[in-house]
């Protein structure tokens, strides 16, 4: 009979929802529906990565996976709101379009090859050193320059201040000056 009491049709006939449109037809799933906000293991404070409005984001994490990203209602700038791009942050960060391996195209190669991260890092470091040596310039027109014009960099406006800082610091130390970002573009 306990089973019967939960039986929707009987509930409909005996309970207040006589037309069977509401309470009586509530399914098991509906009964136990929980928002994945409430389920999250933690909520991490973040900032939208798209434009420079600087909307606050709350990042909901469950089992070490990001399960939802939405506006942070506490932010005085955005008051919890997000535009379509900000609202697509979950797809941006967890979607299928993201790559997770290092790819390498050798000179004259016709396709990518997968490369190990450490190997690739070593290769890039070697190339920086070689190019720097080959293109080093102490002087230009008898004026001290102490630089290389062989290495350039583009990017920074989408990165963190700390990242820009390390980039500029390292590039300056190796004497690379053609360092630019989207602020120019």
């Amino acid at each position: 009979m306990t089973k019967m009491a939960k039986w929707p049709v009987l509930d409909q006939l005996t309970g207040p929802d006589r037309l069977g449109r509401g309470k009586a037809v509530k399914s098991k799933r509906s009964e136990h529906l929980t928002a994945r906000l409430a389920d999250a293991d933690r909520v991490v404070k973040s900032v939208c990565p798209y434009c420079a409005v600087g909307c606050g984001q709350n990042v909901f994490v469950k089992n070490n996976k990001v399960v939802q990203i939405e506006g942070d209602p506490d932010s005085p700038v955005s008051r919890g709101r997000l535009c379509p791009k900000g609202s697509a942050s979950l797809q941006l960060t967890t979607g299928e379009a993201r790559r997770y391996e290092v790819l390498y195209r050798r000179p004259h190669g016709s396709d990518w090859e997968v490369l190990d991260l450490d190997t690739a890092m070593d290769m890039v470091a070697d190339r920086v050193i070689t190019t720097r040596r080959e293109t080093w310039q102490w002087e230009q027109e008898a004026k001290r320059t102490r630089r290389t014009l062989g290495i350039a960099s583009l990017g920074g406006a989408t990165l963190d201040n700390e990242e820009n800082y390390l980039m500029k610091k390292l590039y300056t130390a190796i004497g690379a000056i053609q360092i630019e970002n989207q602020a120019r573009i």
């Binding site: 049709v9 509401g22 309470k23 009586a24 509906s30 709101r81 609202s87």
Partner: protein
């Protein structure tokens, strides 16, 4: 079983009460004020992200900036864009001075399931998949829906639809899961200009009336509320709108009528037959594995 079906359907004080919720929370809904919509489509994306609604194709429609087309199984919020040679009250634009055809205006409006007071989809659903929640909203229960499709022609707004390859009916749930824990629906939360407002329906009515009066005072005589009137053909909507033109301009039916308006009488007539079927259903339920 002397049930006065008609009174239950049409005159009950709240849809939730009529649906068996005795201690139910206030009826919740959306007020979409299209006069402040900037057509950003955050609502569309926030809805899809939260509800994991599938992307439904790259279609360049040429309907202004609307490449979504309309509400459907995979679109629970849809922003319509309407370009007109007509101006909003005191708005001044250079186009007006330069062309003879009058000024330009660009209307944007985020459409959604209306969560009708008298919801035909609910009335026709044979499986109980469609359900009125304690908030007075209408949801499809995906674990119940068998894809019969009866609800689809029943909807006077053309909102509910079957998902391709899945067969089941899908539509806006007014984020039943979110509002159950006291959080506003994803679209309303994201909306940058508060064009989509979520709240207790009574409070939203009050706000909408004030906003309408304000716009009228400012000379925006075209402004009107849609779905606000509890005496309309669907008993008023749980999601209603402030529009700046005729509903048809936005692709909304001017005078929606619950398609099951005559159903109560039909039900009385078929009532006995329906009860007769109960035993059949009972057999089928009991026969199911727990």
């Amino acid at each position: 079983m002397a049930v006065d079906l008609e009174s239950l359907l049409l005159e009950d004080e709240t849809p939730a009460h009529a649906s068996g919720y005795r201690d139910h929370p206030p009826r919740m809904g959306f007020f979409t004020d299209t006069s402040v919509c900037i057509g950003c489509k955050a609502c569309e994306v926030a809805c899809k992200e939260w509800n994991q609604v599938p992307e439904d194709g790259l279609n360049f429609t040429g309907m202004s900036y609307d490449n979504t087309g309309g509400l459907g199984a995979d679109t629970w919020r849809h922003v319509a864009f309407i370009e007109q040679r007509r101006r909003v009250a005191h708005q001044v634009s250079g186009e007006e001075v330069q062309d003879d055809g009058g000024s330009l205006r660009w209307l944007m409006s985020s459409d959604v399931c209306k969560h009708c007071t008298h919801a035909a989809c609910l009335d026709v659903c044979p499986t109980g998949a469609l359900m009125r929640t304690e908030f007075g909203t209408v949801v499809v229960q995906e674990d119940i829906c068998n894809g019969c499709g009866y609800c689809i022609p029943a909807c006077p707004y053309g909102v509910i639809d079957q998902r391709q390859g899945d067969g089941r009916a899908w539509k806006c749930t007014l984020c039943y899961d979110r509002i159950s824990i006291g959080v506003e629906p994803a679209c309303a939360k994201a909306c940058p200009t508060d064009s989509i407002q979520f709240g207790e329906l009574d409070e939203l009515h009050h706000r909408a009336d004030q906003r309408l009066a304000q716009l009228h005072a400012a000379g925006v005589s075209d402004a009107r509320l849609y779905g606000r009137d509890e005496g309309d053909g669907v008993g008023g909507d749980g999601a209603f709108f402030l529009l700046l033109d005729e509903p048809e301009v936005y692709g909304l039916p001017p005078d929606p009528v619950v398609t099951t308006r005559d159903l109560p009488e039909m039900w009385v007539r078929v009532g006995a037959a329906a009860l007769g079927i109960v035993s059949v259903i009972a057999t089928s339920f009991i026969g199911r594995r727990p």
